[in-house]
Symmetry: C2
Subunit: 202 residues, 2 copies
């Protein structure tokens, strides 16, 4: 039986850490991130829900000087220094053929057959659900004491060619630097609207 | 100056609550969710990062019997009972004209001009970033002691016609029931792969 937490809120400090005080950093302290920390992020983020447990994200964690140089070449000018100075940048790819894994990822029904021959539906499902997984990655990294800097300014074709050349069924969704954010690298927070601006209760 | 949490992980219990023990529920306890709780979810989720602070999600929280009946008509057969019995179901819409709000949401540069005339780029940005916001909604609801049941099995055109008829620029991304999950309504967790299956460090 799973544990439930009905009516129990996380502490104010925990909500601050993962949402309210967390920021998207543009610069990074010179402090490394270990492979064990990347494994720990995955072990948390993989528990987040995706449709039919499709888990379409395919993640390349760019850490070595050589891989970093290749990624820097493929990002927009405004993002080159961010990738260069970040200890790690995660490339969140998405597998358009995720359905081939469904027989073991979603074993209690034949979910693969829902997607066979429906490339448009697979592209939509992969994009939506790998984006969810990207958000789980951001929250998981923050929950483990790290900071993030998500970016969508890059040449998707060039990133694909450099990092997924042997996996033609994987497209690139977005990238996200991870490390210990430099507090000098951020500006004032952009405004966040009140409920009534973008929400309706009916 | 923002508070940082470098090297400090959330408690095991908090990680269990938002990721490891949380489940997507198929059935709901007969216990209401208040408007104040929906406001509280928004006040947390709105702090999650989106590209250029675009915040493209437009959320309709379906709570009344009348609105619920309209939504039930538009979801697939397997989801009708879930929507019927859930205290609230959130419809996560996405505004393809989100760029019109950027002058005040992202005031330090002219981000609106990046998207003027680029409907393809706006659709992609709205889909990716409203999906991130949908993930933040799930984590925020869990963090506040609620459970979620996200779904993508519905007729998007019918949901749009029923709930966004006067907002032609809003498309529907996915829907998510919210309440107190019935532990009898879930099965064993689907498998989650080890790091090496879908991740590479380079």
């Amino acid at each position: 039986m799973t544990t439930q937490y009905h009516g129990k809120a996380l502490s104010a400090d925990a909500l601050d850490q993962i949402f309210r005080e967390a920021r998207s950093y543009n610069g990074w302290l010179d402090k490394p991130v270990s492979d064990e920390q990347l494994h720990a992020i995955w072990d948390v983020l993989k528990m987040g829900p995706t449709s039919a447990n499709m888990l379409p994200a395919r993640i390349v964690w760019v850490k070595s000087a050589e891989a970093k140089a290749k990624l820097v070449d493929a990002v927009s000018d405004g993002n080159k220094d961010k990738v260069k100075t970040a200890p790690v940048t995660a490339i969140i790819g998405m597998d358009i053929y995720f359905h081939e894994e469904l027989p073991w990822l979603f074993p209690h029904t034949d979910a693969k057959s829902w997607f066979d021959g429906d490339e448009k539906g697979r592209k939509e499902g992969a994009f939506r659900n790998s984006s969810l997984q990207g958000a789980y990655l951001i929250i998981a990294a923050r929950a483990l004491g790290l900071d993030c800097g998500p970016m969508s300014g890059f040449d998707a074709g060039a990133v694909k060619a450099a990092f997924f050349a042997d996996e033609p069924k994987v497209e690139v969704n977005f990238i996200c630097s991870i490390g210990y954010g430099d507090p000098e690298s951020i500006f004032d927070r952009s405004p966040r609207p009140e409920f009534g601006k973008f929400n309706t209760i009916v």
